[in-house]
Symmetry: C2
Subunit: 213 residues, 2 copies
Amino acid sequence: MGKYDTLVELLLEAIKEGGDGKKDTAAIPVGISNRHVHISQTDLDALFGAGYQLTKIKDLSQPLQYACQETLTIAGPKGAIEKVRILGPARSQSQVEILQADCFKLGIPAPVKMSGDLQGTSGITLIGPQGSILLTQGVIIAQRHIHMTPEDAKRLGVSNGELVTIQVGGLRGGTYSNVAIRVSGTSALECHIDTEEANAMNIGPNSTITIIK
Amino acid sequence: MGKYDTLVELLLEAIKEGGDGKKDTAAIPVGISNRHVHISQTDLDALFGAGYQLTKIKDLSQPLQYACQETLTIAGPKGAIEKVRILGPARSQSQVEILQADCFKLGIPAPVKMSGDLQGTSGITLIGPQGSILLTQGVIIAQRHIHMTPEDAKRLGVSNGELVTIQVGGLRGGTYSNVAIRVSGTSALECHIDTEEANAMNIGPNSTITIIK
């Protein structure tokens, strides 16, 4: 975004805030996830070599989370998808978050689940530059959710684990149900959806959503 | 679907109908569209050879509409997508319906518009076995809509051109706004959405939606 666009945006924001003396406190920023992999150090060693360390290329909105230079090929019985980004840091267990459309390409079913809830999920083959491994479980479609601090939760009138409905405006707008509230002291306020959910409602990186319960 | 599955489905339907003596008349079947091309005879001649006739491989739900054996490569400044299906019969003007995700791959913006409303839309290159052409316009993301007969419209309490909201159940459920009602004497009752809209709400070929206005 150029200087001119930034200026116009700031001016518009100032005008909006001037109207009632405060920002629109109900608007929640959106983070859009494409397919990606969270990897354990053990699996990282097998794929990239013993003791391998991930290379950060970009911080994500959530504190300490980052996109890595490293990518993997993920493969199932029907096909493979190349250049799937690893997100760091390494976790206690590997997890592959894919899109519904990827299930058809890979030939692997994936339940809609919260991050970390991997029981009963499908396995998948991960292929790296130094080796490949067969995960016995870990493939999910991430359930949409909203990260926030306890202060945000209080202000928005929601609590950890609650499922809310979010609203999106515009010609392609609508509502998504069962959006999980995730409260933590170290979270940045952000609603996480995947690229298919974003595209279906024409949601971009600068869009905001509101909770309508 | 095997005989056993068909039998189970029919039994379940019979049990459901037995409950209140009628079918769920509010449920509307869904048709899911992937990217596709409608082609004019002039453009067909240029791409496949003079006087070329399309080869039907499968009837679609709407009367006289069919999927063709023929596919095209579609290309923009950033990339190309191969094997994009042509839907027949030939139309008065060519039209390319793509997904939001395709806009990034191709490097072509596409507005959300109703079929046939091509004014101000982007052009695109079409590549066939006997030639390629540059369409000067015709690329859209199809606005979701519901085909129905006047009888359906009366029963459902809607009218041609009206924009309604549809509801989808389940963990990934929600609502889509601005779904256009299209009434015609020769339509089959069906709600048309694209694969991203379907995947975002876990809608499959056997799903149904309801109008909530």
